[in-house]
């Protein structure tokens, strides 16, 4: 192995180190530094090291060791990308982590079993590489596994949004029935019609959200007993972006995805909210700036690029039923809040 390759390896390590420091400090560019550092380390350094080891194995005439080397390095590369995906919250981390560590430990196991009589000296460094790999993998798996899920927090917030939306729905209905519908003054007919149109649109949007919520609640209760795979023909929309792989434990996630992404799900809700926003632009009793502000409050402020409707309405791609229910209830609360603001500007409450 050439000295220049080792120097390049150290430079790549420095880039990865900077990436980790940037990530911890939430500085921009952390992802680029880490990803490039790891890619270059694998593509340049790790491959050169592999070639060097293969040459050594060839010189010693150890045929079986070459197979271990190929398999071991494949495992290490898969594991490295698994760790990178987990750090970057990319999809496929589960496969990378468990598949990679599985292959690496299998290769080491076979190496130990099949090389019992060999004179090969195992150095402290190679043992420490295995210890660091297995130790930190187990540590992190236990630690993440011990952290409580956020479902209780979603349920708590969902209850608040639910209570709030019920109150504002009742208030809007009361204002519409008691004041807007009864108002017969000719000068207010346009305003009255505009407010009635807005109210009808909010009712329609509320029904769409209610229908999605009902389907998810049914799926949630059924999910306790159903173990079969989800029928993929239910997917009417192109799969957008799901972080975790499809397996038994993610059955519920797939089922919710199927409910959300049919045309009756989020696409319909999105169209309805877009129409609501248009109606806000024509609403009476407000200046253009105020109307724009209200309309913008129906836009998700942190839209994750490329992830579409799913993210817009559920807020996270690694969604669960409780997360989805909470976020849909948030939207339900929001649409009534906005109508209440509009009505309170036009009617003396």
């Amino acid at each position: 192995m050439k000295k220049s390759i080792n120097i390049a390896g150290i430079i790549f390590l420095l880039v990865i180190f900077l990436g980790i420091v940037f990530k911890r400090l939430h500085y921009p560019g952390a992802s680029i530094l880490m990803t490039f550092g790891i890619f270059l380390f694998i593509a340049v350094y790790l491959l050169s090291f592999l070639i060097h080891l293969i040459k050594l194995a060839k010189a010693e005439g150890a045929g079986i060791n070459k197979i271990f080397l190929y398999l071991g390095f494949t495992g290490i590369i898969i594991l490295t990308f698994g760790i990178l995906s987990k750090i970057m919250h990319w999809p496929g981390a589960y496969y990378g982590l468990w598949g990679g560590i599985g292959l690496v430990s299998f290769v080491f196991l076979m190496f130990l079993v099949l090389n019992i009589k060999s004179k090969e000296k195992v150095s402290m460094i190679s043992v420490l590489i295995v210890v660091v790999l297995l130790g930190t993998f187990s540590f992190n798996t236990f630690r993440i596994g011990n952290i409580r899920s956020m479902n209780d927090a979603y349920l708590f917030s969902e209850a608040s949004f639910s209570a709030n939306s019920r109150i504002l729905w009742k208030e809007c209905e009361r204002i519409i029935n008691d004041q807007v519908a009864k108002d017969t003054l000719a000068s207010n007919i346009k305003s009255k019609n505009d407010l009635m149109s807005i109210h009808l649109k909010v009712q329609e949007t509320d029904l769409i959200i209610g229908s999605i919520l009902e389907k998810i609640n049914i799926a949630k209760s059924e999910g306790l007993t159903i173990n079969g795979p989800v029928n993929k023909s239910n997917f009417t929309q192109e799969r957008i972006y799901i972080k975790e792989p499809l397996n038994k434990s993610n059955f519920m996630q797939e089922r919710i995805y199927a409910i959300l992404m049919t045309d009756e799900g989020l696409p319909k809700l999105d169209r309805s909210i877009a129409e609501y926003r248009k109606l806000i632009e024509t609403a009476p009793g407000m200046n253009a700036e105020e109307k724009q502000k209200l309309s913008e409050s129906l836009v998700y402020p942190y839209l994750y690029e490329g992830s579409g409707l799913l993210y817009k309405f559920t807020g996270g791609n690694d969604f669960t039923s409780d997360l989805t229910l909470c976020n849909l209830m948030l939207w339900k609360s929001k649409i009534w809040e906005i109508e209440y603001v509009l009505l309170s500007r036009n009617i003396k409450i």
């Binding site: 390590l13 990530k23 090291f49 130990l112 460094i125 930190t136 608040s160 690694d318």
Partner: protein
């Protein structure tokens, strides 16, 4: 006792060395033994020559070489046992780890036990055996220290992983200490000890790969929730803030209506005042928490430091007396509201009790249970969003009570 002079001692040394023994320490032992024997015979009045000859005759020609052979056999046997034990523990570690991975993939629950078992065997079985085997072969002090650092890292890292299964607070500390021994002890000493020979670049390569995995592990163990989850909770937090503000406006309109009712005005004022004070305290509690988590936080900023930290809730909210005080005040507020509502409004009372309940259990739990339900293990932004949700709940309860009083007032009129 007669002491041997230098030339006499040299003769004995020469004779022992003429046997060409390979174990140096054994050679010294023989010299020492023969010297003592000769000195004892000389003390009985024999000359050096007679005593040495007598001693040689006692031992015989092949005794020294024979004894060395026996010693070598014994040493090799011990080494073989140690090597076998090292490999056996290594196989147990890897087998349990591999079995744990397979169990996890096929969904069996005991994969954690298998993995933790592998880690404890790695820590207290494989690491010490491997270390002893290698430590004995080292001749220089620096190599011995290098191996001690390596052993400490190999012992502490899997032990930390094992303790991690039990959620031990010492697990992180042990892992950090293990990595410190590795990064600041083993790796620098390994680099220093690299000789300028043909194996130099290969050894440097191994150290670079070890460093690569250490860096990856540091990045991996610092894993927190994703940015999109943070954004999602920020959205929820903002939405709850807007909701509580709007509900406050709505409650004010009901309060104005109730001002016309002389009988109910007093109650309305009490409700509004108590609600406002409680909301103010909760807002202060939330802002204090953010300031404790990030002292450099300034109003108007969206993000704050440690926004994704899962453990600050334990430190600043669960372990804080201020949380106890606040939860007690919420309980007092609930009792006040329930006392205002008459018995015939059982449904409203149930709703109010449910909204101001800060626990998963149906029955009222102690403060610790409530604090753990609200704040344990959630990231800081989730804690903030939950406090905002609690504020919304207070405003909802205020609304329900004022609305009830307004209906009562209108029926009366």
């Amino acid at each position: 006792m007669n002491n041997l002079n230098e030339s006499q001692a040299d003769l004995i040394v020469q004779w022992v060395k003429s046997h060409h023994l390979t174990i140096h320490s054994l050679e010294n032992e023989f010299i020492d033994h023969i010297c003592c024997d000769v000195e004892a015979l000389m003390a009985e009045g024999k000359s050096f020559k007679t005593a040495f000859n007598f001693s040689q005759m006692k031992l015989g020609d092949n005794v020294l070489n024979g004894l060395e052979k026996q010693t070598i056999l014994q040493l090799t046997y011990n080494q073989r046992v140690m090597k076998f034990m090292t490999k056996l523990t290594g196989i147990i570690v890897l087998f349990s780890f591999f079995a744990a991975i397979i169990s996890n993939v096929i969904g069996l629950d005991y994969w954690k036990t298998l993995m933790a078992g592998g880690m404890i065997v790695l820590s207290i079985g494989f690491a010490p055996l491997f270390f002893i085997e290698h430590y004995r072969q080292q001749e220089t002090g620096s190599q011995k220290i290098l191996h001690i650092f390596g052993f400490l890292a190999a012992f502490l890292i899997p032990l930390a992983a094992f303790l991690g299964l039990f959620n031990s607070p010492n697990a992180v500390k042990l892992l950090a200490v293990g990595l410190i021994f590795l990064v600041f002890g083993f790796i620098p000493l390994s680099i220093i000890s690299i000789k300028k020979d043909t194996t130099r670049t290969a050894l440097s390569g191994s150290i670079i790969i070890l460093l690569f995995f250490v860096l990856l592990s540091i990045g991996f163990t610092g894993l927190k929730i994703s940015k999109d989850r943070i954004n999602s909770w920020l959205f929820i937090s903002d939405a709850t803030k807007e909701s509580s503000s709007l509900l406050n406006d709505l409650n004010q309109s009901y309060f104005i209506q109730l001002k016309n009712d002389t009988l109910l005005t007093g109650k309305a004022i009490e409700i509004v005042e108590k609600s406002d004070i409680l909301v103010q305290k909760m807002s202060g509690f939330r802002d204090n928490f953010i300031m404790e988590v990030d002292p450099s936080f300034k109003e108007g900023k969206v993000f704050f430091q440690n926004i994704d930290n899962h453990f600050v809730g334990q430190k600043y909210l669960i372990n804080s007396n201020a949380t106890d005080v606040l939860l007690n005040e919420i309980e007092e507020y609930k009792n006040l509201i329930l006392s205002i509502l008459t018995d015939e409004n059982e449904l409203i009372k149930q709703n109010i009790a449910s909204l101001l309940k800060n626990d998963a259990q149906d029955v009222s739990q102690d403060l610790n249970s409530q604090k753990n339900f609200l704040f344990r293990d959630f990231p800081a932004i989730t804690d903030v969003a939950l406090i905002n949700s609690m504020i919304v709940n207070v405003r909802v309860v205020e609304y329900q009570t004022l609305h009830y009083l307004t209906v009562k007032s209108s029926i009366k009129n």
